[in-house]
């Protein structure tokens, strides 16, 4: 019988993380990148909750996860606002077009 170990959570989390990073690295659409960011954040959340579950009785991992969720919500609101301004300025959400910060 396959028992669900910490390692499985970590694998899920790593897959999520890699998917998020891959999304951020490949998507040209700003919204897509935001989604990638959410994936990365949530992979971190999975990690936090998983480690919390396999440690004795402490809730700090879950609390940290809740913090991350709240922060992610705030970040998402901010990021969407940035996207809208991005669009306002460049009439696109393709991040490859927005290279005005090039050194």
């Amino acid at each position: 019988m396959l028992t669900i170990e910490l390692t499985h959570y970590l694998i899920v989390s790593a897959v999520l993380f890699c998917a998020g990073v891959f999304t951020m690295a490949t998507k040209r659409n700003a919204i897509g990148i935001l989604i990638g960011v959410e994936l990365v954040l949530n992979s971190a959340n999975v990690n936090l909750v998983a480690f919390d579950r396999y440690r004795a009785g402490l809730m700090d991992g879950q609390i940290a996860a809740l913090f991350v969720i709240v922060l992610a919500a705030a970040e998402a609101a901010l990021a969407v606002a940035i996207c809208m301004n991005f669009y306002k300025n460049l009439v696109t959400v393709d991040v490859d077009q927005g290279d005005v910060l090039r050194g």
């Binding site: 990073v21 951020m24 690295a25 490949t26 990148i33 991040v95 927005g98 290279d99 090039r102 050194g103």
Partner: protein, 816 residues
């Protein structure tokens, strides 16, 4: 009343000074005709009004009151500064001499200012498109300030300050046409020659200050008198000069002091060795020649001698007389051959100044000053006349090109003739109606000088030889008393100051003094005098040995000049105004203008009357101050103590100088005129024929070259200076420049090393290196900053992954 007169005199300095600054600061704005009027009113009109008030008040003030006023002015001086233990004060000298001089300067200057407005208006006075018109009047106003200051100065210090100021004005005005090539050297010559004289003046001032302890005229005279009486200070048997340690015996230093002070006068009044600047000073505008170089400033030297008369020893006086005599004779001779109308007048001025100085030297104090004033009137007029001629003839100054101008310029012609008569000494001797004698001012003043000279030469008995020992001892006692006693006891003093009416006479001690003397004090003096004279006082006293008769040649030189003067003046007048026109171009364009003839007429009237009736009594009164002198030989022909006590005066009626002079020079003017007329009546032919005859041709060349004085000075001083300058230039080039160039070369090398190597490569290299490094680094670092967000993600992930991998690898290695 007492402070008012002195204050009025002081106030007369204010407006010329203000006018000077107004014209300097706002001259161009005031504009051409108006600047002249500002100069006339502010520069001289106001002072003339003040001066007229003072003069009139003084004229009607009694002798007693005048003495009180003089003393009050002397005591109400204002503290100025402290030099060591010596207080410098300034104030106003208020006596008859100052009042007379002040009024004379104001009056003549006023009319010359007036003339200048006309003279300068027709003048090509634009230099670099800037009118010099206002500048001319600014200089004139400054001159008015300085000259009036000079006249009212109570101390030698202030006299010297104003003395230098008038010298400056003279320099500025001689060099007024600075765009020409002749005016600047003339101005420089005048200034430098005056410096030579002023050097002597400063030495004299130094001796006065060191030994008499004050520069105040009254104080110095008082100290001089005390030191003479007590044989201290200057008159100590052995005098040592503090700074140099030189030792003088007896009166040598006092004589040196007098000669030193006179050196200043020699420069300013252009006396013999320093006379060379005055003819060249004619480069200035003609009104300036009239005002400064004929009437006022050049007379300042005579005024100085008059002021320091009480500080002169007999030897110093003799020196003055010799210089004056040489000047008056030799300069008059040069005037004969001058063809430039202004130059002719300039040499005439030199000769007349020589007369004044000679008069001072022989002791004719009053006569010399009287001649100063009469001369100022007629010479100013003559110069203004020549200015009118030059202006009318469009700047032709050569008399050979004139002639026949009397029809074109009648007023100038006849006023000029009045001046010629005055300088020639026109008068009818012997003809007089009561007090009123017939003659022009120049006649009386010159006659007085000559009379005193005659007295000094022939009536001045030689002392020593024919007296017994007893009388000799008595005479010595008398002499000693004569120094120490108040001069009021002098029997020689005239009781009445009506000198003009009687001309010059010797109120001699020996015999006839009693007729003249009324006051008891004077009678006492008379007794002394009779004793001294009766015994033919002999004196081996140090003081008396300096008093000697005038050498006879000096008197005869002066007489000779009295014949020469009418000749050259009449020649100048005849060549200019009479005969036939020699240059028709000049003659046709000649004209005269109202603005310029008015002053001529005024001054002609002044020459005829005012100088004699106004100034003569005042100068007689002023002579009282000079008579106070302890060592004075004679004032106005009258022997003073101690001379009278020591000398026997052979003054019998048949040796009366006045009568002798009538025969000698009474009609000199007629002879001079006649000779001149004979030669020049038909133009220049006769003159050029005379010029060709052997003895005269050499003489003519000698006179035309002015005795080669310019050449001599050129050889002695100018060449010498140039030689010194050449040596200096050599040293400059080969020593100073060498060192300088060496130093500069080394400095340049160091600078090159420091600039090109240390600075460019060291300091700049370091700073630039930092910035270049930063720049290069930035070039590298900007490459990853693509702005592409996805690349950032990849990079960060990649790098974090690599970092973790490295971390794990490190842990593996450590953990084994």
């Amino acid at each position: 009343m007492e402070p008012v007169l002195a204050k009025l005199l002081a106030a007369s300095l204010i407006t010329p000074f203000l006018t000077f600054w107004i014209l300097v600061l706002w001259g161009p704005k005031i504009g051409k005709p108006r600047a002249g009027w500002v100069g006339l009113i502010g520069g001289m009109g106001v002072p003339l009004a003040l001066s007229a008030v003072v003069f009139a008040t003084w004229f009607f003030t009694g002798p007693q009151q005048r003495a009180e006023l003089t003393a009050a002015a002397q005591h109400s001086q204002v503290f100025w500064a402290q030099l060591g233990s010596f207080d410098v004060t300034f104030g106003v000298k208020l006596d008859s001499l100052t009042v007379a001089m002040h009024f004379m300067v104001c009056f003549i200057a006023f009319w010359i200012f007036f003339f200048s407005i006309g003279y300068m208006s027709g003048h090509a006075d634009c230099v670099h498109h800037q009118s010099k018109y206002w500048r001319f009047f600014a200089y004139l106003a400054l001159f008015a300030f300085s000259m009036l200051g000079l006249v009212i100065s109570p101390s030698l210090l202030f006299l010297f300050i104003f003395w230098e100021l008038v010298g400056l004005c003279s320099y500025l005005l001689i060099g007024f046409y600075f765009e020409t090539d002749y005016a600047p050297p003339a101005a420089m010559k005048a200034f430098i020659t005056n410096r030579v004289g002023d050097f002597g003046f400063i030495i004299g001032l130094g001796i006065v200050f060191t030994f008499l302890g004050t520069l105040d005229l009254e104080g110095a005279a008082a100290a001089f008198k005390t030191q003479l009486a007590t044989s201290t200070g200057l008159f100590a048997p052995q005098v040592t000069v503090p700074i140099f340690g030189w030792t003088f015996s007896g009166m040598t230093l006092a004589t040196l002091m007098g000669v030193g002070l006179f050196c200043g006068a020699m420069g300013k009044s252009a006396q013999f060795p320093l006379h060379v600047w005055l003819p060249d000073a004619m480069a200035g505008p003609t009104p300036v020649s009239a005002l400064i170089h004929a009437a006022t400033m050049v007379a300042a030297g005579v005024y100085l001698v008059a002021r320091v008369f009480r500080l002169l020893t007999p030897d110093a006086q003799m020196f003055i007389a010799v210089i004056g005599c040489i000047t008056l004779t030799f300069m008059a001779l040069i005037a004969i051959v001058q063809t430039d109308i202004k130059k002719c007048l300039a040499y005439s001025t030199l000769s007349q100044l020589g007369y004044m100085i000679f008069g001072m030297g022989v002791g004719a104090w009053t006569a010399a000053l009287f001649h100063l004033i009469t001369h100022a009137f007629f010479k100013a007029m003559l110069f203004l006349g020549s200015g009118q001629v030059i202006e009318g003839c469009h700047h032709v100054q050569d008399m050979r090109r004139m002639g026949g101008l009397r029809t074109k310029m009648p007023v100038t012609c006849w006023t000029f003739f009045v001046g010629v008569l005055a300088i020639a000494g026109f008068g009818i001797p012997g003809l007089h109606l009561g007090h009123w004698k017939f003659g022009l001012g120049g006649f009386f003043s010159k006659d007085e000088i000559l009379a005193v000279a005659y007295d000094r030469a022939y009536n001045w008995g030689r002392f020593g030889g024919h007296s017994d020992g007893h009388a000799e001892a008595r005479a010595k006692g008398e002499a000693r008393r004569a120094y120490t006693e108040e001069p009021a006891g002098g029997g020689a003093r005239r009781a009445e100051s009506d000198a003009g009416g009687r001309g010059v006479r010797l109120a001699a001690f020996a015999g006839e003094g009693a007729e003249d003397v009324q006051s008891p004090a004077a009678r006492e003096g008379d007794v002394h005098g009779a004793e001294g004279g009766g015994h033919h006082a002999s004196a081996k006293d140090g003081v008396a040995s300096g008093i000697r008769a005038l050498p006879k040649w000096m008197f005869w030189f002066a007489i000779l000049t009295a014949y020469v003067t009418p000749f050259y003046m009449f020649r100048a007048w005849w060549l200019t105004f009479m005969g036939k026109p020699r240059d028709h171009h000049v003659h046709e364009h000649a004209h005269e203008s109202k603005m310029m003839t008015t002053p001529l007429v005024v001054l002609a009237v002044g020459t005829l009357v005012s100088s004699y009736f106004l100034f003569r009594p005042m100068l007689s009164h002023a002579a009282e101050a000079a008579a106070d002198a302890p060592l004075v030989v004679a004032v106005d022909g009258e022997a003073r103590e101690p001379a009278a006590a020591l000398l026997s005066l052979d003054h019998t009626p048949e040796r009366d100088p006045h009568k002798k002079l009538v025969g000698l020079v009474g009609f000199a003017f007629l002879i001079g005129f006649a000779v001149s007329w004979a030669i020049y009546r038909n133009g220049l032919d006769a003159a050029s024929r005379i010029k060709a005859i052997p003895p005269f041709n050499l003489l003519h060349t000698l006179l035309e070259r002015k005795y080669y004085f310019d050449e001599l000075y050129d050889f002695l001083w100018v060449r010498g200076c140039r030689a010194v300058a050449a040596v200096c230039a050599f040293i400059d080039t080969w020593v100073i420049d060498l060192v300088y160039n060496l130093l500069s070369g080394v400095t340049e090398r160091i600078a090159a090393f420091s600039g090109r190597v240390l600075d460019a490569q060291g300091v700049d290299g370091f700073v630039n290196g930092i910035s270049e490094t930063a720049n290069d680094l930035a070039e590298v670092l900007r490459k990853p900053q693509t702005g592409g967000i996805r690349k950032y993600v990849l990079w960060s992930v990649g790098l974090v992954t690599a970092a973790i991998a490295a971390l794990i690898a490190a842990m593996r290695v450590n953990g084994g």
